[in-house]
Structures are given as C-alpha cells and as structure tokens.
C-alpha cells in the first residue's frame, strides 16, 4: 500500500511489559501503517497476546513508547486509549453471559467525532447469524457466534485500529471463512488491523506483513510473497 509517508496508525518502540515479576515483553519494536493488516506470529508464550494487552494498558507494569494515531499512550488509562479509536477483540472473546447478543453488540460506546463505524444493518449483513440470535443470551451462543459477535461489536464504535487476538482459533472452517471475508471487507474500507494468529494460512492470506515474535521480541518481518523463499526459516520460527 502506498501509505509510507503517513504517520503510522501504531508505532511501538522499546516496549517492555511485566506480569508481576515475570518480564514478558523485552523490547518490542514495530509499526503498523494506516490501512495496513499486520499479523503477529510466533509460538505459544512468545508474547503476542501480551503485546496486544500491553497496547491497551491491560498488563502490569510497562515501559517504552506506544503511539496510537500519533499520540503517546503509555501514560493513559485503558479507557482513554480505547477512545483514541482502538477496538479490542480478546482471545477469550469476552462475550458477556448475562447480556443478550444484541446488548453485547450495542455495549461498546461510539467514539465521539467518528463516523467511521459500521451501522447495525451493515454488521448484520456481514454476520447474518447475529441478527437471528439477537435476543439470545450471550452464554447461549455457539463458539462461532461468540467470535463473530466479539468482532462485530467493535466495528460499530468507529474504532479505526483493530486488535484481534486469535479470531480463527477452534472454529469450523465455514466460520473461519466468514471471518476472513469480514477482515477483507474491513481492509477494503481502510481499517488498520493487527492480528495475533496461530493459523498461519488464515493470516498469510489476509496480511500485508507478518511479524515473527520470540521471547518477547520481534525477530523478523516478512511479506506474504516472501514466504515461499523463506519456508525453512518460517517453519523454524513457528515450530515447537
């Protein structure tokens, strides 16, 4: 994409983060340009989920610099970071069991001054299942429906930077396809997306760049068309 001259939507410099005494992120550096789709890949425990959580201030202590839409956020509380236009879809999906499907969908407040969000109609067009289930309680939804809901509810808000953690994990292929189509549609609309994925093929087909993490650092960056030439290296970086 020809957006190299713009300020990046997300710029992370020397990010360290801790959970209690454990030093999980050890100097993470990367940028995501506006409109780009970037995936964090790596083995379990490499620090990918922690990176997403640290961006929102959901870890313990952290240091370094995180600029979201050119604003430094390391000193901000979680809800203020979110209001800069960040949408978060957690690995455990975080569907509220005591809220109905539609209440879950309507829960995140719309960000002021942003008209970028999808309307409810557009969301139901992307995920027709959610309209059928709108009165069902959150706890009665299937895993696939929960995942669609977790993604759908951050699309209404006008968030322009989406942090999506393992959205294809443990789902039937047909649902993974639906989610993949949704990501493509969002990309076409100019959303900036940072994915954390276990599913290498899912993410390679969607991303502009792939970042490889190991031991709390980013050790390599590849574009999808470089993957074939680096197959051995990729296998080494992802294998257990």
């Amino acid at each position: 994409m020809n957006t190299a001259t713009q300020t990046p939507a997300l710029a992370v410099r020397g990010l360290h983060a801790w959970y209690g005494e454990s030093h999980v992120l050890q100097g993470v550096n990367f940028e995501v340009r506006s409109g780009e789709v970037v995936t964090l890949l790596g083995r379990n425990g490499a620090g990918r989920t922690t990176t997403l959580r640290a961006l929102l201030g959901l870890t313990g202590r952290r240091s370094g610099s995180i600029r979201v839409f050119d604003q430094e956020t390391t000193g901000l509380s979680t809800h203020r970071i979110a209001r800069l236009g960040v949408g978060y879809c957690p690995e455990e999906r975080g569907i509220f069991a005591s809220l109905s499907c539609e209440e879950n969908l309507l829960l995140p407040p719309l960000f002021k001054g942003s008209d970028a969000g999808l309307s409810l109609d557009e969301i139901y067009r992307l995920f027709p299942n959610l309209e059928e289930r709108k009165h069902s309680p959150g706890m009665a939804l299937s895993g696939g429906e929960q995942q669609m809901l977790a993604l759908a509810r951050i699309l209404r808000t006008g968030a322009r930077l989406l942090l999506l953690d393992e959205i294809s994990e443990g789902l039937a292929p047909v649902i993974v396809d639906t989610l993949g189509q949704a990501i493509r549609e969002l990309r076409r609309r100019g959303y900036t997306i940072l994915l954390v994925e276990q599913n290498f093929h899912f993410s390679a087909a969607l991303s502009d760049r792939l970042l490889f993490m190991e031991s709390g650092r980013i050790i390599d960056t590849l574009t999808p068309d470089q993957l074939d030439d680096n197959a051995d290296k990729v296998a080494r970086m992802l294998s257990v």
Partner: protein
C-alpha cells in the same frame, strides 16, 4: 373470624407491619446486592447509611425546616455523595484484596459514623413528629395508615425503577457487563472506576431513601441501622445475589414471615430470619435466587 385462634383484624395488622418492614429490607438488600455485584465489597456501612438518611430527614426538619418531601430527595443525594467520597478515599484501595478486608473496612467506617452521631445526639431516639401523610384508609379487611401505604408504594416504585435501570437501559448494560469483566468494559472506552463510584453512591443512596421513609415510623437514633443491617445481611444470604427481583421478593417475604412469627410465636420473632437462613443454606448454599458460581 379467627385464623388459628388469632382474629383476622389482628393478623392483617401484623402482616401490614411485616409488609412495611419487608419493604425496608427489600430496598436495603437491593442496594447491598448492587454494591456487592460491582465492587465485591460486603458493605457493612449500609445500616449506618440508612440511619444517616433517617437522621438527615429529622435534622432537615429540626434545624432548617426542610419538610419530609424535600429531605426524601435531599438526604439520599447527600448520603450518596458521602458514599462516593468514602469509596474514592478508602474502598478503592482494597478491591484487589480478599472480601474480608472490605467487610472489616466498612465495619470500621460504620463504627466511626455511628460513634460520631452518638457523640452529638446520644443514643436515645429522636421522635420525628407527625407523619407527613395523615389519615387512614379502610381496605375492608384492614384499616391501614396512609403513611404506611405510601411507604409500601414508594419502596416498590424504587425497586421497580432500579430493576428497570439495571435490566433494560444502556447504563444497566454497562453495569452488568462491568460486573462480569471490568477490564474488558474499560477496553471498550468506558470509565469503569467512575461507574464503580457511582454504583456505590447509588447503593447507599437507596439505603438513605429507606431511612427517610422509616424516620416517621421508627425512632431516629445512632443505633437505628444496627439491627437493620444484621437482618438485611440475612435477607441477602437467603435471597442470593443472583437477581434483583429475587432480592426484592425475599425482602418482602421475610418481612411477612417475621410478622407471622410475631403473631403465632412472638418469642421466636427475632430469630426466625436466621432459622430460615440456616435452612436455606443447608438446601441451597447460593441462596434461593442465587446462580451457581
């Protein structure tokens, strides 16, 4: 006509008193349950807040000639703000600790509040004076003072409004979501610490509202809240924390049970609540309306 040897009129009169008490239990335990859901603090100050509501309503009339209706609005507001100050100063520091710390902290605050009131007003009750609504309504089977009728109506209205707010509005959805997963709600851009403070303020304002309602019926004293809080804890344990409607039904139901015991076996009337509590805990440890955790 007698029912088990008690004249219907006397039985009805006791049941009416039980219904009024049950309404107080319902409003108080509702506030306790809302606070516990959000803050995970067992708020021992609830009885003291009830007492402050009653005291303020007496003081407003005595010192400033502010009538009952003004204080019915003003006292919950003042107590609510006082609650928010306490939450910001003290409670917010203990959310990460075991429940026990919250109980101890609020017990300590209760002793301070009640001690302060006691040192100014002593322990003897202040009579509120005539009830703001006079007269009696004849329901055919029972003559009921209009003021008590008002207490029942006002309590039920407040409970219904609280239910509606929590179950049917956007703010309520925030509350329910934040009760489940506060961090995620914050990650959606909602200022959860403010939500927590407001919840505490609202919960204790409910207690103060009940206090104002009770002032013309009970004696207003520093210790008014003490007997109340113990019973209300029993109500919450019996009802469980699961549902608002459940809490209200349990509160009113136990008020009636207490009244019936007063009629048929007065010696047991002050302990029947706890007997019910033991029985319920044996059969349903999460309470009658409590979910399984």
């Amino acid at each position: 006509m007698d029912i088990f040897g008690v004249p219907v009129q006397a039985l009805m009169a006791q049941l009416m008193i039980g219904l009024v008490n049950g309404c107080f239990y319902a409003v108080l335990s509702l506030g306790l349950a809302v606070i516990f859901g959000m803050l995970h603090v067992i708020n021992f100050t609830h009885g003291a807040m009830f007492m402050l509501g009653a005291l303020l309503s007496w003081a407003g009339l005595y010192y400033f000639e502010l009538n009952y209706w003004v204080m019915l609005f003003l006292a919950p507001l003042v107590v609510g703000v006082f609650g928010i100050v306490l939450e910001r100063l003290f409670l917010k520091r203990i959310y990460k600790l075991d429940y026990l710390y919250g109980l101890l902290l609020t017990l300590g605050l209760t002793l301070i509040i009640e001690g302060a009131v006691r040192s100014v007003y002593g322990v003897s009750g202040k009579p509120y004076g005539p009830a703001p609504i006079s007269g009696v309504t004849d329901l055919g089977f029972l003559m009921i003072p209009n003021y008590r009728l008002w207490v029942i109506v006002a309590s039920l209205m407040v409970c219904a409004a609280t239910w509606y707010t929590i179950e049917r509005t956007r703010l309520g959805a925030y509350l329910r979501a934040a009760t489940e997963n506060p961090k995620l709600v914050e990650a959606f851009g909602i200022n959860v610490p403010v939500l927590v403070s407001l919840t505490f303020g609202f919960g204790v304002a409910l207690a103060a509202f009940a206090g104002v309602l009770a002032a013309p019926i009970m004696q207003v004293s520093a210790l008014t809240g003490q007997t109340m809080i113990v019973i209300v804890f029993a109500v919450v344990v019996i009802g469980g924390m699961g549902s608002i409607a459940g809490t209200v039904v349990t509160g009113i139901g136990l008020g009636l049970v207490e009244a019936l015991t007063k009629v048929y076996y007065p010696e047991a009337s002050s302990m029947v609540m706890f007997l019910v509590m033991v029985l319920v805990l044996l059969v349903r440890p999460n309470g009658l309306f409590g979910g399984v955790e």
